[in-house]
Amino acid sequence: METLMFYILAAITLMSAFFVISLSRPVHNVLFMILTMIGLAGLFALLHAEFIAMVQLIVYAGAVMVLFLFVIMLLNLDDLRLPNQPTPVRWLMGAVIALLVVIMLVPVIRALAPTAAPAAAVGVTNTESLATALFTTYLLPFEIASVLLLAAIIGAVILARHKSPED
């Protein structure tokens, strides 16, 4: 059952990822990216990381992709079809380089002995074990992450505002 779910979710994720990089209209790319994020959330849930799966749905599929859609709709980028879509030669070069990247990873993957997953911990939910580690051992990176978000907010507002005439 778990194997079947894994293959279904993997197929959904990979097909959607392929459509993300290959379709020509940006809105279609964003919609398939949302489907990829949902597939990834399903894979996280299959790995007993329920909190990460829900955070993935809320943050990635719910906020980041909607932000992409906002920008595409705001700037009317959907009509802006770029002429001469990437030529097949360019696709081939990209595929060759990506294949090289994957080939570098194959010895690492094969060096690991295939083992089954350890039994899921009972009594401790994923959220609880995450929170215990996040708010004790990793408290400083957590606070720094909020400062990072503040910097990103200020930067995004400054970059995207209209320049007033007296600037």
């Binding site: 993300v20 790995l47 070069m93 690991l112 350890p118 930067g155």
Partner: protein
């Protein structure tokens, strides 16, 4: 039985698709989305290792990767908006003022 190798090969494939998207496509929005694909593949690697090695640190790192990815997308899209306002295009080949 789903082993660790299954998840690692899947995330390697996702990462490779993201690399193809970043290098081949010239629409800046699609380049940013392929960047998110690569980060998603890395997240899957971290969570898979966290599960199969029995340690929670992998998922802690995933949380921080998500924070950084969200911040990076916000700033990247603000750059896209500013670029479109100045040059009227989001073709990455046209952003070549610093090219020698």
């Amino acid at each position: 039985m789903v082993t660790l190798q299954h998840y690692l090969i899947l995330s390697a494939a996702l990462f490779a698709l993201g690399v193809i998207g970043v290098m081949v496509r010239r629409n800046l929005i699609v380049v940013l989305m392929s960047l998110e694909l690569m980060l998603g593949g890395v997240n899957l690697t971290f969570v898979a290792f966290s599960r199969y090695l029995g340690s929670i640190e992998g998922q802690i790192f995933v949380l921080f990767v998500m924070v950084v990815a969200a911040a990076e997308v916000a700033v990247g899209l603000a750059i896209t908006v500013a670029l479109f306002r100045e040059k009227g295009t989001i073709n990455v080949n046209d952003v070549n003022l610093m090219k020698w």
